[in-house]
């Protein structure tokens, strides 16, 4: 994966338990990105974490991300909050977009808490494109919601802020009932909010991004073979192994990130065979995410 060197120019609180990080390219302009894109942040403690870009699209010199300190942090957000100092050099990946904004005359954006990050540049882009756009931004309390003032200043009445401690949960069914014929819905936030959105809005109009995998049931894991077309090798994936681990152990280099099917780092090209997609990204035809996905056919042929 192509990495870019950045300097952490500023780390500042933007809500209770949320920090915004401003990363300046150390070697000139940074790779361009589109609304919905995220980067991998390589931390000094060997962990790599994915964060949505939420800065100014036109500013080629910096990236901005925001990070919530997760109470059950495994070492990513905790490290960023407690140990990462301004001035430090950090390697980040080139942006990747699993959550692209498709053209539409009208948008409804739904964001929950730190899930505001990919939505912010989407809202800006939608408004700049002349579309009509509404943001319903919810969070536990006003203090816990990043960028409320910034959003209100930029977008005024397009932004409806909804603190659930005072107003309860917003009524997605009512929003769905009023949805215009060409309106697309983009939603990012915690799992229960995404589940509620999936229940309320028609699937073909709804685009969501998860930070954590959705609860899913699959048939028991079985072993399968992976034929690697380029290297002319066959690797057996045991029932206990992930495809990513088996290929990596066989010496084939595949970058990896979340290992939960949400970040997209371990994507490979599929040549033949029937995959069982278990990710939460939605693999494009001919692609698959090796950390969680497996095979329905006895073997797969991949471009490795």
């Amino acid at each position: 994966m192509a990495m870019q060197r950045t300097i952490l120019e500023k780390a500042e609180p933007v809500a209770e338990g949320a920090l915004s990080l401003l990363l300046r390219g150390a070697d000139g302009p940074l790779a361009p990105w589109e609304p919905g894109a995220h980067i991998d942040l390589a931390l000094p403690n060997w962990l790599t974490r994915q964060y949505s870009l939420c800065g100014d699209l036109a500013d080629r010199d910096t990236y901005r991300v925001a990070v919530r300190h997760d109470r059950l942090s495994r070492g990513g957000s905790e490290y960023i909050h407690l140990f990462l100092g301004e001035g430090r050099t950090l390697d980040v990946s080139v942006p990747r977009n699993n959550f692209p904004l498709l053209p539409a005359p009208e948008y409804l954006f739904l964001a929950g808490g730190i899930g505001i990050t990919p939505i912010m540049p989407m809202l800006t882009a939608a408004v700049e494109a002349g579309a009509s756009a509404t943001l319903v931004y919810m969070g536990r309390s006003l203090d816990s919601m990043p960028f409320v003032d910034e959003l209100r200043a930029a977008h005024g009445s397009r932004v409806r802020v909804h603190a659930t401690d005072r107003h309860g949960l917003p009524d997605f069914a009512a929003e769905a009932a009023e949805l215009g014929p060409g309106t697309l819905v983009y939603c990012c936030g915690p799992g229960p909010m995404l589940d509620a959105a999936e229940a309320a809005f028609p699937a073909r109009r709804l685009h969501i991004e998860r930070f954590r995998p959705a609860a899913k049931e699959f048939a028991p894991d079985t072993a399968f073979d992976v034929h690697c077309a380029r290297s002319e090798r066959t690797v057996r994936v045991g029932a206990e192994d992930s495809m990513l681990d088996a290929l990596t152990h066989a010496g084939l280099r595949i970058p990896s990130g979340c290992r939960e099917g949400v970040c997209g780092t371990c994507e490979i090209a599929l040549v033949d065979g029937e995959p069982e997609h278990r990710d939460d990204i939605g693999a494009a035809p001919g692609r698959m995410y090796t950390c969680v996905s497996r095979a329905l056919s006895p073997s797969l042929t991949v471009d490795l």
């Binding site: 059950l72 070492g75 490290y79 681990d245």
Partner: protein, 213 residues
Amino acid sequence: MVSGDVIPEARPRRLSFAEVRARIGEPDDMIKRKVRDRLDQHSRRFIAHSPFLTMATSDATGLPDSSPRGDYPGFVKVLDERTLAIPDRPGNHLADSFRNLAENDGIGLLFVIPGMREVLRGNGRAYPTDEPDVLARMRTEGKEAELAIVVELTEVFFHCGRALIRSRLWDPASQALAGEMPSIGEIAAAQFELDADPQALTDMLEDDYRHLY
């Protein structure tokens, strides 16, 4: 016993602590004051950057045992300024440390950061847990730790770097020492008196090492 061992006529002379103290002298006040009863920002930062520690436990008779633990830096979680949690990953299933802790809850930890000469030591009382919120923080490579050891610290202190300086532990040239050892397959074949190809044993172990979680 290995051929060439020097066999003294009697066991080496045993000194009393008073005799030892007389030889090495008294520590100065600053050294005495280095022991703290909880983590501060520096010890916390040390733990967040340490990928390796040794964990000493003892059985009911006081017989100690030392065990290595390692993972990504910060794999030991700080629950609060006096409490740590160490993940238990698949190992040899001997559960020596757990058995010891059931008999004697004393624990001694020595944290190491590669490249750093000073080490961090922490002592206290420990017990095993399967608390979901603790295990969730240890999820690695998509797999959760099965158990964790909760450590209630009573002593925390930095230990000076002389031992690591003398040992040249972080000098890359020191790694040539490993080349003077037989392969793990040769050692296993000898110790278990196996009539097996040492290379095949080494390969087997290497394959096993690929499944770390």
